[in-house]
């Protein structure tokens, strides 16, 4: 009798397992949830393009068995914009970390949200720059310890859900890696939803963030997420700050409809150029 294989294996580059992420790293859970979302929604692997930035989360592109692109630090979103423009029929998913997407990549994040580029952004937020050893990130809570803020972070962190919402994202959700079912569901939702979608995933970095801030290991983080998450479905994103070791508001906060960038382009150019204009494919069926 054949040993059954893990049903997520077709979505993974099994020739590269085991992956480099630390024991208990939340990124593995994120990949697992995405594979699950693909499986459950019966999404064709060859209809998805995966783009990532640099950092631990950026390594996701190398482990998902899809056409995948491991680009430069902070620039996954503009690469994804270019890719989507050339192939609007593809679902383009960006995986990257808080530092990559919001610090160096912040400008690209807000403009892509503003334009409503039809890409899906999964932001793994572990409050640090893990790959390089734990430097301060724009999401690091005040007074948390980082190698470049050794006496405690003294900057106010971003509230990523608010940032994405105010920049114009049509879907904004935050879950933790404890919320595996909700996360897989959110990923299924964004795969179907046109427009700029942003899913923030709070994830443990056990080796660095957890350890340096004496917060225990990954399991301690997961238990913390379980206890301290506050379901805040539909909440005002302004009120979703994450204090250090305080309640974590989670849920789907924004789910609205706006024409995508290419749809807007067709509308405006069509209006001005009339019959002369041949609408560009948008990849959206409404």
């Amino acid at each position: 009798m054949n040993q059954p294989r893990n049903p997520v294996e077709p979505f993974l580059r099994m020739d590269r397992m085991p992956h480099i992420w630390c024991p208990g790293c939340g990124i593995g859970v994120v990949v697992n949830c995405f594979a699950r979302a693909m499986l459950e929604s019966k999404t064709d692997i060859d209809s998805v393009q995966v783009v990532s930035g640099i950092g631990c989360t950026g390594r996701i592109a190398g482990y998902l068995r899809m056409d995948s692109y491991h680009t430069t630090h902070g620039r996954a979103i503009p690469f994804a914009t270019g890719l989507k423009t050339a192939r609007p029929d593809m679902k383009v998913v960006v995986f990257s970390g808080d530092g990559d997407l919001v610090a160096i990549g912040g400008n690209h994040l807000i403009h892509a949200a503003r334009r409503n580029v039809d890409i899906k952004v999964i932001c793994v937020n572990n409050f640090t720059y893990g790959m390089t050893g734990g430097q301060v990130a724009p999401t690091a809570p005040v007074e948390s310890l980082a190698t470049t803020s050794p006496f405690g972070v003294f900057e106010q962190p971003f509230n990523l859900a608010f940032l994405a919402d105010s920049a114009g994202a049509v879907y904004v959700a935050r879950w933790t890696t404890y919320h595996v079912r909700q996360l897989a569901k959110a990923m299924r939702e964004v795969l179907q939803k046109p427009g700029f979608c942003f899913v923030e995933v709070i994830a443990p970095c056990p080796t660095i963030y957890q350890r340096r801030n004496r917060l225990g290991d990954a399991l301690d983080a997961m238990k913390f997420y379980k206890e301290q998450s506050k379901l805040s479905e539909g909440a005002d994103t302004r009120a979703l700050d994450i204090p250090m070791q305080g309640p974590i508001p989670v849920g789907r906060f924004v789910n609205r409809d706006r024409p995508t960038l290419l749809e807007n382009m067709n509308a405006v150019l069509g209006k001005r150029l009339g019959a002369k204009y041949q609408p560009y494919p948008t990849g959206v069926t409404r």
């Binding site: 040993q3 593995g28 595996v180 909700q182 897989a184 299924r188 399991l219 997961m222």
Partner: protein, 89 residues
Amino acid sequence: MVEKDKPKKPKGEVHINREVCKGCGFCVEFCPSHVLALDTAFNRKGYHPPVAAKPEACNGCNLCGLYCPDFAIFGVRLGKVEEDSDDEG
């Protein structure tokens, strides 16, 4: 009385790839039926993978499989042709 003493057939079973497990403990912690426990033995990398300590309690919900960051474990429902989809709908 006789039925109460008859051991129940498990509704599911777990499959564990011991050598890729990194011993994070998520599956043990979050299994709703407390099927798993960390093995006292090590795998080749020095981690303690899970073992099914109470296999009869497994109902194949695959929550362990959803949590595993290393794709080292998954659960299947027994006696069904295809796997249920685990969505909350």
